[in-house]
């Protein structure tokens, strides 16, 4: 059992004066300190968190209105710009960087009274599937400290399951929220592309990046999404939110059509993971949902498409780190050109460099059409197959990952093997559809994640079916 109540219950008690925001902040900070050996957190935001808690408690005392998340502590992945601590993206490049403004997502959560207490570890610049690519430290899986928490939002997922806060924020470019949720036993929501503003979040691959919550329950995820979502003039890719609250969930399973993705249930899937997914399918069927097998024949190409488009956009987005305006700068450069290349050599870790090099290759003259344009066109094919699938079923279902958490170091020297971890998550980013990972049992004490997807902008329906599934399989 968690030491935290449901998020709406915490806020209700703070609003009524039955709980003090100051105590909640101390409880979070104490837990972070007591469990620091898991290395989930890069830095706390203690001073600012205490100040914010005091002002919320004072407002309650003076009968002023406080927000829907009043006093609720949370942890932000360290690629969100926040006040009160450095924002590093777990990279040597941004070590010592102080954000001049905050991410829109943080501003919206704070406007409703939530309190950021710490910044979570990640793979540097969110490049990775295990959080081993952090330039600072490796986060350990809460279920087995010899294993990875998944990535790149591994610190966020571990922090939630270690009870450091009721929720954490992550970013998901190819599975970076859902995979760590799956490996750590959390709920991880990747909303529709554009539903949550990315202003003030360190950009990775801009046609794929989304922001979402990591929580213990689907209901908590829905509430956090409800507060964060909607158009933001600071991010021109944002789309309008639902007019209804994302917390108004339809949890009826009867006659809901759910497609079991054939391509995710076959070769390469660990047999025990398949059993857990099948057990969930059986329970959904028992609850009178209608389950059918469905094929999206181009899904096996999704990872190859992703590993063209993602590095291409990464190489473009990371070109801003030139060592001149902010970030790491080389001290011994003789001229400007050398200052660029030495600053980038020293500030970027291996994975960032690998992706910049890959991206530069697929975008370079002579290869652009063969790789980048071709990948963008196969992306269209995948999008069309999703659209067609959603004419036949309401939701899609499959595992989040082909396996449970692997050992620290197991894939470290083989980037291609590491990339294969994302094989079941990248397609949702390519298609821009919402997807969620919820816990579906354990194998040898290691959590298994079940993934559900819905059509673009059907985030509320997805949360509803996820909540119903959570209830049916628990």
């Amino acid at each position: 059992m968690s030491q935290w109540l449901a998020i709406d219950e915490i806020a209700a008690k703070v609003q009524k004066g039955e709980l003090l925001a100051a105590d909640l902040v101390e409880q979070a900070l104490r837990t972070i300190h007591d469990r620091k050996e898991f290395q989930a957190v890069i830095a706390t935001v203690a001073e600012r968190a205490r100040e914010r808690a005091a002002s919320i408690d004072a407002a309650v005392k003076n009968k002023r209105k406080v927000g829907r998340l009043a006093g609720v502590p949370f942890i932000a992945k360290d690629n969100f710009l926040t006040f009160g601590s450095e924002t590093t993206a777990a990279s040597n490049m941004l070590k010592g960087f102080h954000a001049p403004y905050q991410a829109t997502a943080i501003e919206r959560l704070e406007a409703e009274g939530a309190i950021c207490v710490a910044k979570a570890n990640l793979d540097a610049f969110a490049h990775g599937s295990s959080t081993e690519n952090s330039d600072f430290m490796v986060t350990k899986n809460p279920h087995d400290p010899e294993r990875v928490p998944g990535g790149s939002s591994g610190g966020s997922a571990a922090a939630v399951m270690l009870d450091m806060a009721p929720f954490a924020l992550g970013t998901d470019t190819g599975g970076s929220i859902r995979l760590p949720a799956s490996f750590c036993g959390a709920v991880g929501l990747k909303p529709t592309y554009g539903l949550v503003s990315r202003s003030g979040v360190v950009a990775m691959a801009s046609s794929l990046d989304v922001i979402g919550p990591l929580t213990r329950t689907v209901e908590d995820a829905a509430l956090v999404l409800d507060v964060m979502s909607g158009v933001d003039t600071l991010d021109s890719t944002t789309i309008p939110r639902d007019t209804d609250s994302y917390t108004k969930l339809n949890t009826h399973l009867k006659n809901k059509k759910i497609g079991i993705i054939k391509e995710y249930m076959g070769e390469g899937l660990n047999a025990d993971v398949r059993d857990r997914v099948q057990a969930a399918i059986d329970k959904l069927q028992a609850a009178e949902a209608e389950l059918v097998e469905i094929s999206l024949p181009s899904l096996p190409l999704a990872l190859a498409v992703y590993y063209v488009i993602c590095p291409a956009e990464v190489s473009s987005n990371l070109s801003r780190y030139d060592g001149q305006r902010y970030g790491h700068t080389a001290t011994d450069a003789k001229n400007l050109d050398e200052s660029f290349s030495k600053s980038r050599d020293e500030g970027f870790g291996k994975e960032a460099k690998r992706r910049i090099m890959m991206g530069t290759y697929v975008l370079s003259s002579g290869y652009y059409d063969a790789y980048y344009r071709k990948a963008q066109t196969v992306r269209t094919k995948i999008i069309q197959e999703f659209a067609e699938a959603f004419t036949k079923v309401d939701f899609l279902l499959g595992p989040t990952a082909p396996q449970t958490a692997f050992k620290i170091g197991e894939n470290a020297s083989d980037p291609m093997q590491m990339y294969l971890t994302d094989i079941m998550t990248v397609a949702a980013n390519l298609a821009g559809v919402p997807a969620i990972s919820i816990p579906a049992g354990e194998i040898d004490d290691l959590p298994v994640g079940l993934q559900l997807m819905a059509p673009q902008r059907a985030d509320r329906a997805l949360l509803g079916i996820a909540k119903a599934t959570e209830r049916a399989i628990s």
Binding site: T329, T360, T377
Partner: protein
């Protein structure tokens, strides 16, 4: 299939403005070749009649008024993270000569 030479890797590093150690050049030569091998499976895919996708939600030319908004930040706040500065400006190395 696509196998990168040492010169290919050096050319990419130059384009991307990253100076690499000899070990990194060697390591990347093998690893990037392996990744290219994997993604080359896309070459065989039939995409007749399909257009490339760069934006998934159908937004086109999102415009806003070009107005100045006050974010309450001073010149000094904005220069806080600059590694080398002089007289309130960003200082860089010589570009020519």
């Amino acid at each position: 299939m696509t196998k990168l030479s040492r010169d290919d890797v050096l050319k990419l590093a130059r384009l991307a403005r990253i100076s690499l150690s000899d070990d990194e050049i060697k390591e990347f030569q093998g690893q990037i070749s392996e990744i290219l091998q994997y993604i080359s499976q896309l070459q065989a895919v039939d995409v007749t009649g399909l257009q490339p996708t760069s934006q998934v939600t159908g937004l086109v030319n999102v415009m806003r008024e070009d107005v100045i908004e006050d974010y309450g930040m001073s010149h000094q706040d904005l220069l806080r993270n600059v590694p080398h500065k002089q007289d309130g400006l960003i200082k860089v190395k010589r570009m020519i000569g």
